[in-house]
């Protein structure tokens, strides 16, 4: 490689990093300036001490966990079944799972509200619990492209059909096959899908706001409209959570020694 190409490559990298990092650094720096003249963690203390923060954050974490559980229960058997019994349907299913990337969340949520309002055949929005369930479905839809791809890629690394038959011949029914053979072998993929889901749900605004649920996203927005330093602190926290999720994906991949494909 010539000096010139190497230089260009470095410049491009530095430009890219600046592009991503500069706003972050600026925001982090700003979040530390609540006290006049010195850097302090005042903004963080204030945010973390705010009961509204605690409520909305807990709410979103719980929602994320339910969404992950629902997503796994929905996606793993589906992706498995498609691979096993209907390989011809894979492109179609893949297309369907990609739709949430194309259809804006606001369209989905208006559709939900229209379908499940209090005067509909299934008035989910009539109660808080019903709306929570609806919101969870919405979150699961948003996370679907990532979850499905992750799981499907995981399934590709194992011989789904033969492992299924091996387990069946040993007396296993469908639940056992899924729970003891398929799921453990795609666990890394499921985990990376789960962390992505978590990151999406924690930061989601549109659906939670329109369904009027006390989630972290709307709280972030309200705070951002009314305060100066706290939103910056909050954004740094949100970033930290997302990055922690990414780190956990990496960790899960590294720790899974035994799931390496046989040579």
């Amino acid at each position: 490689m010539s000096l010139w190409t190497r230089l260009t490559a470095w410049l491009a990298l530095i430009f890219g990093l600046t592009y991503f990092l500069l706003p972050l650094i600026g925001m982090a720096e700003f979040s530390l300036k609540m006290r006049r003249g010195v850097y302090s963690l005042d903004a963080y203390a204030k945010v973390l001490g705010d009961p509204r923060f605690q409520e909305t954050f807990t709410y979103s974490v719980v929602m994320a966990l339910f969404t992950i559980a629902f997503g796994v229960l929905l996606v793993v058997p589906t992706a498995y079944w498609v691979r096993l019994k209907m390989p011809w349907a894979r492109p179609y299913v893949e297309f369907v799972t990609l739709l949430p990337l194309v259809i804006p969340a606001i369209v989905i949520v208006f559709g939900y509200i229209r379908l499940y309002n209090t005067s509909s055949w299934l008035p989910l929005t009539g109660t808080a619990m019903g709306t929570n369930v609806l919101l969870m479905f919405g979150y699961a839809t948003l996370a679907l492209p990532y979850m499905y791809r992750a799981v499907d890629t995981g399934l590709r690394t194992i011989d789904v059909a033969t492992l299924t038959e091996a387990a069946q011949s040993l007396g296993a029914g469908w639940i056992t096959v899924l729970g003891r053979v398929i799921l453990p072998n795609v666990l890394v993929a499921v985990l990376s899908g789960a962390f992505l889901t978590f990151a999406i749900v924690i930061g989601e605004f549109t659906m939670a706001a329109l369904l009027n649920r006390p989630a972290f996203g709307p709280y972030l927005q309200v705070l951002g409209a009314n305060r100066a330093y706290e939103p910056a602190a909050l954004s740094v926290i949100a970033f930290a959570i997302t990055w922690a999720c990414m780190g956990l994906i990496q960790l899960a991949t590294h720790l899974s020694k035994h799931t390496k494909a046989p040579r």
Partner: protein, 350 residues
């Protein structure tokens, strides 16, 4: 009645009839091979016995009980796959114990059985390893132990040795047969390798185009092939065209000589066949037919030497044992070959 009975079994995929009127009875403890070229329907028959494919028509009974309507996990059948199919997330011991765990056996019983199985396959030390830490041969032995651990009624093996290299293949062949005999388990073994089938089986089913062409002991299948396909597929054959002189006594003219097969033959021209070991060099006591030819090639394999001689415009392969006294004839040497006419197989007529 046989322990495992297959009657009028048929299987079609769309318009493609893959298995045609397949009938077979297997005694308890018997080792039967399905032998045939790739695509002849061996795996499909096996998968119907295991329950992974539903027969189009026909009956499969194990121990007198019809199993066609049972799901694979209700049939109590052990299955070994070409690709081993060990569970990658489980240790060797947990792989072997999987069936027992599914059956809800208590831990103490499972541990004991797993140890017993590990000992049976000679891998007692490797219970804690993961499959990816084992060689192919070791993985396949674990797969065998896993299939046998729940004491199945029937053991099914689908080309279990095909993915292994030659040396391991031969040793594992003997090991599988020894374990099968020791446990007395009824076994169906699918292979396209005639040597495997001949050396391991109590009986062989030679399959061709979805049909069982012949069912018999290795000796019968090799020495008295029922069809031309069987004769060609199992073992090596030399073909000789001959003209029938007397159909009743089986007197034929082969090139310049005449021979009597001592069994009725059709009129006209026939195609006869001889195994390499039926032909010997020089005049031998008990061989009544002599052919003259010229050596064209000599292949030295060690204890056996494979020679070819041109007789009447066609090459005949034959074998001789190596001796320290006498080197084999060189190519170009004129030789006399002898054989016993009644050994000759009839493989075609017109």
């Amino acid at each position: 009645m046989s322990f495992l009975t297959i009657e009028h079994l048929e299987k079609s995929f769309g318009a493609n009839r893959v298995v045609k009127d397949f009938n077979l009875g297997i005694e308890k403890g018997e080792f039967v091979s399905l032998l045939g070229p790739s695509g002849c329907g061996k795996t499909t028959v096996l998968r119907m016995v295991a329950g992974f494919e539903t027969p189009s028509t026909g009956r499969i009974a194990i121990g007198g009980k019809d199993v066609v309507d049972l799901r694979p996990n209700q049939r109590n059948i052990g299955m070994v796959f070409q690709s081993y199919a060990l569970f990658p997330n489980l240790t060797v011991a947990d792989n072997i114990g999987f069936g027992l765990k599914v059956a809800g056996k208590p831990r103490a019983e499972r541990t004991a059985r797993v140890q017993e199985m590990l000992k049976l396959i000679g891998l007692s030390e490797l219970g804690d390893r993961y499959p990816f830490q084992l060689s192919g041969g070791q993985q396949q032995r674990v797969a065998l132990a896993r299939a046998l651990a729940p004491s199945p009624h029937v053991l099914l093996l689908d080309e279990p040795l095909s993915a292994l290299d030659a040396k391991v293949r031969v040793s594992l062949r003997n090991e599988i047969r020894a374990i099968q005999k020791k446990l007395g388990i009824t076994t169906i073994f699918v292979t396209h390798d005639q040597e495997e089938a001949l050396s391991m089986s109590d009986r062989i089913v030679v399959m061709h185009g979805g049909i069982a062409e012949q069912v018999g002991t290795p000796f019968e299948v090799y020495n008295r092939p029922a069809t031309k396909f069987v004769a060609n597929f199992v073992g090596m054959l030399n073909t000789l065209s001959a003209e029938v002189i007397d159909a009743a006594t089986g007197r034929v003219r082969i090139g310049g000589t005449e021979a009597t097969l001592r069994r009725p033959l059709p009129e006209g021209k026939v195609m006869l066949a001889a195994r390499p070991e039926m032909i010997s060099l020089g005049l031998q006591p008990g061989r009544d037919t002599v052919l003259d030819g010229t050596i064209t090639s000599v292949d030295f394999f060690g204890s056996v030497i494979r020679l070819r001689a041109r007789v009447d415009g066609s090459d005949l392969a034959f074998d001789m044992f190596n001796t320290t006294e006498e080197p084999p004839p060189a190519p170009g040497t004129d030789v006399r070959l002898s054989l016993l006419a009644s050994d000759l197989l009839l493989i075609g007529e017109n």
